[in-house]
């Protein structure tokens, strides 16, 4: 079952839909929900990390230079980072298509 996204048949469902290995939630890429994507303006960014703290998905990380970026596999495009960024360094732009 571990190599499948989900069980094919009801007979393959574990009792209680239990998942018998850790970390399976990370296999579900919530980034597919996203309608808008955050962009960081490195001129305005003061590396305060508020975006990292507020991100409800926990998908914003700090890079080697101290700037922040979102993991687009999981970023749902909620825009909380842009709303909370007090220097206005994050802009939300529509996804293409």
């Amino acid at each position: 079952m571990s190599d499948k996204k989900w069980p094919e048949t009801w007979q393959e469902v574990n009792p209680g839909c239990m998942v018998m290995r850790p970390g399976s939630a990370s296999e579900y890429h919530t980034g597919s929900w996203r309608a808008k994507r955050p962009f960081w303006d490195k001129v305005k960014c003061i590396k305060c990390g508020l975006c990292y703290i507020y991100c409800p998905e926990g998908c914003i990380t700090e890079d080697a230079d101290g700037f922040f970026e979102a993991n687009l596999d999981y970023c749902k495009g909620c825009g909380i980072c842009a709303k909370e960024c007090w220097t206005g360094a994050i802009a939300m732009a529509n996804e293409e298509g």
């Binding site: 048949t9 009792p15 209680g16 839909c17 239990m18």
Partner: protein, 388 residues
């Protein structure tokens, strides 16, 4: 061998859980269940079982807490009644959906409004579709026996479902009955220690209560339904083992003098014993009366019921709850549905009786049988004895 004792049934039910060596109890007191909560607390406080008694602020928390404890592999017990059961209703399908072997003692009581603390079955009926195995006890002995049987059924690997035991409020809970309390050695022989299917332990991480997307939710529900339907095989097997060891027989549908019966009453719970006396009285008058007692409400014992009604002309089904604006009482609509496809089936009449502690006596059951003999009442379901 067990010992015959005079004991209050609510206390005896708590003692039965202690004989099963529960690891954890979380109970919120509510009349008429409170003596179960108090006595479980006493048992833990006195160190008679090696267990935790968790004090909680509500029934919602009580059931949630035992779900958590059951997830770690503990043998758990909870109990409730009436509004408390309704307050648990959000958590009921979670317990069964997570396939956790929880045992709950329900002291059946009417639900508000108007407020009423006395006995009927309007608390359990809304829980019908939550996926729990549901036993109905007729008397204190059955309540005690069913608590012990429930663990063996719930923990069976083919079942892994929560079980609740119905015990009529006051009529049973507050009655001091002479009953046989099994002794510890006997219960240990019947019920081995719990071997959980999975446990919440950091050494071997698992996820319980997971998200299921539309692509898998139907399969998960089907798997749960199949587990509940198939559990009847294990229930019957456990009841046979019980009978072999303790000598008391349990069947999903129990018949009393139905062999040549013309009209048969159908009951669930403590009123079955009053109905037995009525059947005896009717038989003395030459009326071919019989009685069918349903002990297993979920999974519903369709085959056993069909077998039990063979040759009966009229079934007088009694219900102790109302399905407002519905087809009759919940037990009756279940039985009508169960027999619909049978080529030969009895006429069915439905009496709503014993609501909110209204007494139903032997003479009432006699009158119900006589009135039912015509095979039809003037209404689809009759509130028996209601004034006006």
């Amino acid at each position: 061998m067990g010992k015959r004792v005079g004991i209050e049934v609510a206390i005896a039910a708590a003692e039965a859980a202690a004989l099963c060596r529960f690891d954890m109890a979380a109970v919120y007191p509510i009349t008429p269940q409170s003596h179960v909560a108090e006595h479980l607390s006493d048992i833990v406080n006195d160190g008679r079982v090696d267990a935790t008694f968790m004090t909680v602020e509500s029934e919602h928390s009580a059931l949630s807490a035992v779900i958590g404890a059951a997830g770690t592999g503990a043998r758990v017990v909870t109990a409730t009644s009436s509004q408390g059961l309704l307050y648990m209703s959000e958590v009921m399908p979670i317990a069964s959906g997570m396939r956790l072997p929880i045992v709950m003692i329900v002291a059946n009581r009417a639900v508000s409004s108007p407020i009423n603390i006395w006995n009927d079955h309007s608390d359990i009926m809304p829980m019908r579709d939550t996926g729990w195995i549901t036993f109905f006890s007729d008397n204190g002995q059955e309540a005690v026996d069913m608590v012990i049987q429930a663990y063996k059924v719930a923990e069976n690997r083919e079942v892994l479902l929560p079980v609740n035991i119905m015990m009529d409020g006051f009529q049973l809970t507050h009655m001091v009955e002479p009953l046989i309390m099994p002794d510890q050695e006997e219960v240990d022989r019947f019920l081995p220690p719990i071997v959980p299917y999975a446990t919440l332990h950091p050494d071997k991480p698992v996820s319980m209560g997971t998200l299921a997307m539309p692509e898998i939710f139907s399969e998960a529900q089907k798997a749960k339904d199949v587990a509940l339907v198939k559990s009847i095989r294990v229930i019957k097997e456990v009841w046979k083992e019980w009978e072999a060891q303790f000598g008391r027989k349990y069947e999903p549908v129990q018949t009393y003098r139905t062999e040549d019966a013309d009209v048969a009453l159908v009951t669930m719970g403590s009123m079955g014993e009053t109905a037995e006396v009525a059947v005896d009285a009717l038989r003395r008058e030459g009326v071919k009366a019989g009685l069918i007692k349903i002990k297993l409400w979920r999974p519903f014992p369709f085959a056993d019921l069909k077998n039990a009604v063979k040759g009966i002309r009229v079934l007088a089904v009694t219900d102790r709850a109302v399905s407002f604006g519905g087809p009759g009482g919940p037990v009756c609509s279940e039985i009508r549905s169960a027999l619909y496809d049978e080529p030969a089936r009895p006429a069915i009449v439905n009496y709503i009786i014993g609501l909110g502690g209204r007494d139903v006596q032997v003479e009432d059951f006699i009158a119900m049988v006589k009135k039912a003999a015509g095979g039809k009442l003037s209404e689809p379901y009759e509130f028996y004895g209601v004034r006006g």
